[in-house]
Subunit: 399 residues, 2 copies
């Protein structure tokens, strides 16, 4: 393999692969019981798989071979209609010409990169952030600049100085406003308004990635960029069923300006033609039967219980040793040690001790956060969480 | 919308969108019966949807919620194992480290673009060719040069002169060697060997797109680039279940050098995380039960019958008026009129007359082939084909 044969790899190699992949392969080699807080997956028991089984049979019976034909690139009409009807009952109400069904939220981010990012474009991301989000923008040649976050989310007040230093306006700003991955924090209303104002001043796209917004279990709704923007074409909203229904479906959506959606449809045609049809029809029928809202209610109650259980376990085992965030929704919290702890080293010991997480460095393109780690509280029961956190405390002692 | 907000769209807009989309939307507005030879879809009756229904129930019963979890980016083990076992019985036998499961063949092409094409890179494509294939390479900034084809496929002998004229070696050469889309022709063995030799001389990637190779119903197997290349990393083979099982599944695969597959896995993580899981398990179980080979046998017999029926209808209605190709497999044939016929204009009249096709210009980035059109013979019964071709003849007279 010479570099000429692999130009792309030479540009982006190592970002995602390095830590998460080696962690995962280490996990896969373990044969003993591991309490994994690593993956950002819904709990198995949170997926309505029995409903899905029954619904799938009915979808097949009613649609025949049409279930397996090419779908429309913009998404199946049945799903588009049901989703629009559901969103009408939420603060995210929208219209058909603003909607594109995608192959999960990840494809929404890839589309944002494809549409908006040219090599050398300045793109601001949160630090820490969802690494595959940064990676897809990097793959289009983005020049990534990291901006810090605190308990109120992205510290938007730092952006003008970062932009001045960079010497040019950002083409895009990538944010996860609600229950951010990996920290679990939510951006305050004041900062959302400030970010919108800056984006308008700079003509920057806000890539508004919100997989967790519907999973708020504490506190009050904060209006999102979709609401606050009032249809501003600068707001590009990426949504997904992965966290609220099931990730294996690979069904999500983008809400954007109608003129942008037209370009997205052309772009998606050259990426995967259309989103897989059976899972679109499955999701549509789940929505049509009114299943989503009660399902979300169950998830919110359950994840609240699990988050609180993790808080209790952390207080039991890590008081005075680490600090951590207190999310009001979503899947994740973020644990920070003193500078003397290297969580990549801790990971190896932890896995030997039967517990897993994602080390902090995986969430920064510049390798920050070596003393932090991400825990997914959503995928384990309170009992398993206590077991896992106690093992983590032992691992820290052993280190 | 200013151009700065939509840099990507400004680069590639209009290529795919223009003709195929307007054709499709025109089709959708029609309320009367249309014999459509337009889409490259398997016939509805060629999809084993009753088998799928039964298999899906059993997959759900055996896997529970795991069917809906995130899958491995390289693909589900069950599908990888079954696919490797099936390919072992064909000339395309391969190994696990060369295999990546993709979201249809289109994603394989998008991955090729992402991995190999940088802005300004020279890429050679067949003319005519599958437009979404060119479009995805264009989206990465490829400088596309078209090379002509004849009844023996791409006229490889023309490439050295094209390359000399371009003043630089091609980064990639995009070919559909078997039953090419749109012409239905197959590249001769002699030309395959010559192309491989030239690619080695130039260090060019051969993007070997072969959705139809398993659907040969006449003539003898011609060894593919996968076989001829002997594992050469320059051969990048894109495959799909879309034409041999069902396109709505969105399941395909790439066969490439192991070092390239590692990069593809990183790249796919930033595109759609993983291919949808239920349809991978469905395909795996269909293969495990030994369903694919008898299914392919049925398809080959049926498509041979349909192709011959279309040849007969064309002889009845277009002798002396047009020439056309005589495919030995696949889905499509290519009809060419004299220079005085504009098939984009013919399209409008044809749809009024109850028949549809794709006009030739849709298959060239330079708008060649205004006097040709693509017919899909696979999706219509002989009776419907005769009706459709007779309507096409009437449309031509009316024009």
């Amino acid at each position: 393999m010479n570099a000429e044969v692999l130009p792309w790899a030479a540009r982006t190699k190592g970002l995602v692969g390095s830590i998460i992949d080696s962690s995962t392969s280490l996990l896969q080699r373990q044969t003993h019981d591991i309490v994994s807080f690593a993956m950002g997956s819904p709990a198995a028991e949170a997926v309505p798989s029995e409903d899905f089984s029954e619904i799938y049979s009915s979808v097949l019976a009613n649609n025949g071979a049409g279930v397996f034909a090419y779908g429309a690139t913009e998404g199946e009409t049945a799903l588009r209609d049901e989703l629009l009807a559901y969103l009408e009952t939420t603060p995210e109400r929208t219209s058909a010409e603003r909607l594109l069904i995608t192959s999960g939220g990840m494809q929404g981010l890839d589309l944002a990169g494809k549409l908006f990012v040219d090599p050398g474009d300045l793109v601001i991301v949160e630090a820490p952030t969802y690494t595959n989000g940064s990676a897809t923008l990097l793959a289009y040649g983005a020049d990534i600049v990291e901006a810090p976050i605190d308990d109120d989310g992205l510290i938007v007040e730092t952006l003008p100085e970062l932009v001045q230093k960079a010497g040019r306006r950002p083409k895009a700003i990538y944010v996860i406003p609600n229950f951010q991955n990996p920290t679990g924090t939510a951006m305050s209303l004041k900062r959302r308004l400030l970010l919108l104002a800056l984006a308008r001043e700079w003509r920057s796209i806000i890539i508004d990635d919100d997989p967790y917004g519907m999973l708020r279990f504490d506190g009050r709704h904060i209006p999102g960029f979709r609401e606050l923007g009032g249809g501003d074409p600068l707001v590009f909203s990426v949504r997904t069923f992965s966290k609220i229904l099931a990730p294996g479906l690979r069904v999500g959506w983008v809400d954007a300006d109608p003129a942008i959606v037209e370009k997205l449809i052309d772009a998606k045609q050259t990426m995967d033609t259309c989103t897989n049809v059976p899972n679109q029809l499955l999701s549509a029928e789940f929505l049509r039967r009114g299943g989503l809202e009660p399902h979300l209610d169950r998830l919110r109650r359950e994840y609240q219980k699990r988050m609180r259980a993790m808080q209790t376990s952390l207080e039991n085992h890590f008081s005075g040793v680490a600090t951590w965030t207190h999310p009001q929704g979503g899947f994740f919290l973020w644990l920070t040690f003193g500078d003397n702890v290297d969580t990549s080293k801790l990971f190896d010991v932890a896995v030997q001790n039967g517990v897993a997480f994602i080390p902090g460095r995986a969430f920064s393109v510049t390798g920050q956060f070596g003393n932090a780690l991400r825990l997914c509280f959503a995928s384990q029961t309170p009992e398993r969480t206590e077991l896992g956190i106690s093992r983590l405390a032992e691992a820290l002692k052993a280190l």
